[in-house]
Structure formats: structure tokens, C-alpha cells
């Protein structure tokens, strides 16, 4: 099966004046249609850099990133991708309805379809009552849910989520998990980065572990975790052990 997201030997670096920071040192991974791919790693590992390259926010210094067989920064791809940023703010003077209308128009969705879809995604995100509330008056959790709503406004085939549970309470996390699983059931491919290994363990099909710009492992979740009957969060143990071994 051909992967939906394919990253091959990706290198990336940041330059600030004369200083050069290597963020990615030749990473390779793939995500397939209909799967949930969890991308985990410690802070500064290169997760957000990888996502930024997938979305065309930055250019790699070497290697390539491809989505649907096209260069990841291609405009054609963006019609089929939804993105939830880790920390995102939306124009505070707009309302959820207006911001979704604005984004929907960028996807060239016709007016009737767009209005119906806005009602649907707001209902999914539990923001129907806050439809006309200025975004500056929404709580952090509501903003995060709005983030998900705008990520799925175009009914994308691929969802790229950067820390989707950021700022959510346990109920919010549960709802987010349910939405992600529902999207998976609809055949969407979900690529998300997270620190919350318990959440990753619950929903992911495959996992990629990154540290200091290098992929340590890309594997099916049950092959990493194994069939060990224990109450401990086994993925967390394995993750920490892997990082420590690599750094030793």
C-alpha cells in the first residue's frame, strides 16, 4: 500500500545569524491511509519542525516530504489536509462562525455547503452555543476545540494535529479522542504529535519515536509495547528507556 505521508531522509536546520542549529538529521517515516500515526519525542526533538515541513512552513535543507505523492508544500495538497497547531490563536475580534466561514472560503466551499458544514463541525466540537461569541471571550479549551473544528472544516483526508490535547481537561481529552477515532473510522489518516503517551497508547496504530532530530523507531504500537499484561503505562517506560539508551 502506498503511504499517504512519506518522509525520506529529511534534513532541516535553523540559521540565526552565524549560528546553525540542526533540527532534523535525515528522518524517514511513512503514514498510511486510514491509520493514526503517533509522533512522539521529548521537547526539542524535531516533531514540530517535521510538521512545519509537511505543511510548507519551512523548507528542508535535504531530503523530501511528500503527501498524496505530491511535494508536501504543494497548494493542491492543502485542499485535502487539515491542521491543528499546538499553540494557535485566531483573530480575537472574529467569532467561531466568522473564522470558519473565512477558512471555508479559502477552501472554495460553496456557501450552502459551508453553512451546513460549519453547523456540523461546531456541533462536533461542542461550540454551537458559542457560535457568535468573539474568540477573545472563549476559554483555552474552547479555543482548542475551535482549532479542531477549523481543521476539519474542509473534510480533509489527512489531519495533522500538533498536541491536540493541549489545554484540555479530562472530559475534553476524552471528547478529542472520540472525535479522532470517529475520523479514523471515516477513513481519514491522522498524523499527530503528542507528549501524552497514555493518549498515544490508547488510539494510535503506529508510532514514530524521535529524539534530537533522529528517528529511533517507527513501528506498529503493539509491536513496540508487546502483549504484556500490566497496569503500568508500558509505552512510557519503553519511550524513556529508548531515549536514555540513545543519549548514553
Amino acid at each position: 500500500m502506498k503511504p499517504v505521508i512519506e518522509i525520506k531522509n529529511l534534513h532541516a536546520e535553523y540559521r540565526t545569524g552565524k549560528e546553525r542549529t540542526v533540527a532534523l538529521k535525515g528522518i524517514t517515516l511513512s503514514a498510511y491511509k486510514g491509520e493514526i500515526f503517533g509522533f512522539i519525542g521529548p521537547n526539542g526533538a524535531g516533531k514540530t519542525t517535521t510538521i512545519n515541513i509537511l505543511l510548507g512552513f519551512m523548507h528542508p535543507t535535504n531530503g523530501n516530504a511528500v503527501i498524496f505523492g505530491e511535494k508536501s508544500s504543494s497548494l493542491k495538497n492543502r485542499f485535502r489536509i487539515g491542521y491543528l497547531p499546538e499553540i494557535a490563536y485566531y483573530y480575537p475580534y472574529l467569532t467561531p462562525f466568522k473564522i470558519l466561514t473565512m477558512y471555508g472560503k479559502l477552501f472554495r466551499i460553496d456557501k450552502t455547503t459551508l453553512n451546513n458544514r460549519i453547523d456540523s463541525v461546531l456541533a462536533n466540537a461542542g461550540l454551537t452555543e458559542e457560535k457568535n461569541t468573539p474568540i477573545r471571550n472563549l476559554s483555552k479549551g474552547m479555543s482548542q476545540r475551535l482549532g479542531l473544528a477549523q481543521a476539519i472544516i474542509n473534510d480533509p483526508e489527512v489531519l495533522i494535529l500538533d498536541e491536540p490535547n493541549s489545554g484540555l481537561d479530562p472530559i475534553g481529552k476524552r471528547e478529542m479522542r472520540d472525535i479522532i477515532l470517529e475520523l479514523k473510522n471515516k477513513g481519514k489518516t491522522i498524523f499527530f504529535s503528542s507528549h501524552e503517551l497514555s493518549e498515544v497508547e490508547l488510539i494510535c496504530d503506529r508510532v514514530g519515536i524521535i529524539d534530537r532530530g533522529q528517528i529511533l523507531k517507527t513501528e506498529k504500537l503493539d509491536q513496540i509495547v508487546g502483549k504484556i499484561d500490566t497496569k503500568q503505562t508500558v509505552l512510557e517506560d519503553i519511550f524513556i528507556r529508548m531515549i536514555k539508551d540513545k543519549r548514553a
Partner: protein
């Protein structure tokens, strides 16, 4: 173009919600009123000074609006991170820049037309009327606002908000004097320096080409159509150049 227009609408909506435009609006109306009501030596029928000062007020205020609105577009989007969900949409970076320019131009032109409307009311109250040269002057100033908006948007890809405002306003002031200053010193320098000065003269846009205020004040007849057409082409060439430079810089930028 559709995507650019969506971005432009957002710029306009954001600007309308900011208080600074209303403050500048009230300030300029107040200044025009004071100028209109001023009395000099019990003389009647004084119109020229009013036209000159009002035009000066309107010109500077609308340029300040264009600069202030335009300069904050890119830096604020980046700092507030509103750019990330936006750029993940099918929106080219060139459309983003174009949209920001369009929004900035529209808001400054709208303010200019409102001020001009009030100015014309004052003009009628002083017994004067709208002349052909005034219409031409209004058109050229609209072109100037579009050009300045493009300069500001281009610079916003290189500089912070504060630096951009400073440089843009400085250029607006100096841009009216380039031609005269260079031609004054040209025959006093050596050939190499003269070549450099002439290059600067041709590279930098002359903002005095968009200023018909002297002819308006002194009630000259309208300028020939070829002059307006030439200035219009001149404006659009420079607008394209600045937007292109801004787009190229923004395209290379890591978000």
C-alpha cells in the same frame, strides 16, 4: 485573487475595530475645522491657504493610516501565531501578501475619500467649487496611497513594526525631494558619484509625481491625460516591484 480578497477583508475588519483610525479621523476633522474657521486681518474669500493646509493634513493623516495599518500586518500575524492555521489553508504566500496590500490600500483610500468629502463640504461653504485638477489630484493621491501601502507591506517582510513605521514615514517625507535634491548636486560631483546619484534617482520612486497640491491650490487647469496615464503606469510598476520583493522575501521565510 479570491483568496487575496478574503485576506483583504480580514485586514479591513481588523482596522475598523482598532481605535487609532477614529482618533486620526477626529484629529484631522478638528484640524480642518480650525483651519477653515481661522480669520486673517478681517479678510474675506481666503480659500487657497485652506486648500493647502487641508490637503497637507489629509495627505499626512492618510499616509500615517496606510503605514500604521500596513506595518503591523505581518509582524502581528507572526507574533500572535494567527498565521499558522491560515497558511495551512490553500493560500499562496503571494496571495497573502497581495491580500494584505489590498486591505491596507482599501482602508487608507476609504479614509482618504471620507476626508475629501468633508474637505469638499468645507470648500463649498467657502464659496469655492470642485475643479478638474482637484479630481486629478485625488486620483493621484489614491495611487500614492497604493504605492506607499506596497512599500510598507514589502518592508514588513524585512523589519519589525516600529522600524517599518519609522522608515516608511521617513521615506514618504524624503521621497518628495529626491529629484530636486539630486539634480541640485548632480553638476557639482564627479562622474562616478553622478552615476550613483542618477541610479538612485531612477531606482527610488519619486513621490512628488503624485502631488498635484500646488496646482490645485493655485487653480491651474487640469494636467494632460498622458501625464496622468504615465504616473499611473509608474505607480503600478513600482507597486508590482515592491509586492514582488515582499513576496520573494516572505516565501523564503521560515514560519
Amino acid at each position: 485573487m479570491r483568496a487575496a480578497w478574503i485576506i483583504a477583508k480580514n485586514v479591513i475588519e481588523e482596522s475598523i475595530r482598532k481605535k487609532e483610525i477614529y482618533v486620526l479621523f477626529i484629529l484631522s476633522i478638528a484640524m480642518m475645522f480650525i483651519v477653515a474657521m481661522a480669520s486673517f486681518f478681517s479678510l474675506t474669500g481666503l480659500v487657497k491657504y485652506f486648500i493647502e493646509l487641508s490637503f497637507l493634513i489629509i495627505t499626512y493623516i492618510t499616509v500615517i493610516i496606510a503605514v500604521v495599518v500596513g506595518a503591523r500586518q505581518l509582524p502581528v500575524e507572526l507574533n500572535s501565531r494567527t498565521i499558522y492555521p491560515l497558511m495551512a489553508k490553500p493560500l499562496k504566500r503571494s496571495e497573502f501578501i497581495m491580500g494584505k496590500w489590498l486591505g491596507t490600500s482599501i482602508i487608507s483610500i476609504f479614509c482618504f475619500l471620507v476626508f475629501e468629502g468633508i474637505f469638499i463640504i468645507f470648500l463649498f461653504s467657502k464659496g469655492s467649487s470642485v475643479s478638474g485638477i482637484l479630481i486629478q489630484g485625488i486620483f493621484l493621491h489614491i495611487l500614492q496611497l497604493m504605492l506607499i501601502s506596497s512599500i510598507v507591506i514589502c518592508l514588513s517582510a524585512f523589519m519589525t513594526n516600529a522600524a517599518n513605521v519609522t522608515v516608511s514615514i521617513l521615506y514618504f517625507i524624503l521621497g518628495h525631494w529626491i529629484g530636486q535634491a539630486i539634480s541640485d548636486v548632480l553638476d557639482k560631483c564627479g562622474s562616478f558619484l553622478a552615476w550613483i546619484l542618477k541610479s538612485i534617482n531612477y531606482i527610488l520612486p519619486h513621490l512628488d509625481y503624485f502631488d498635484l497640491s500646488k496646482k490645485i491650490v493655485h487653480q491651474w487647469p487640469p494636467v494632460p491625460a498622458w501625464v496622468i496615464t504615465t504616473v499611473m503606469i509608474y505607480a503600478f510598476v513600482y507597486i508590482s516591484i515592491f509586492l514582488l520583493i515582499g513576496t520573494l522575501k516572505f516565501q523564503r521565510r521560515q514560519l
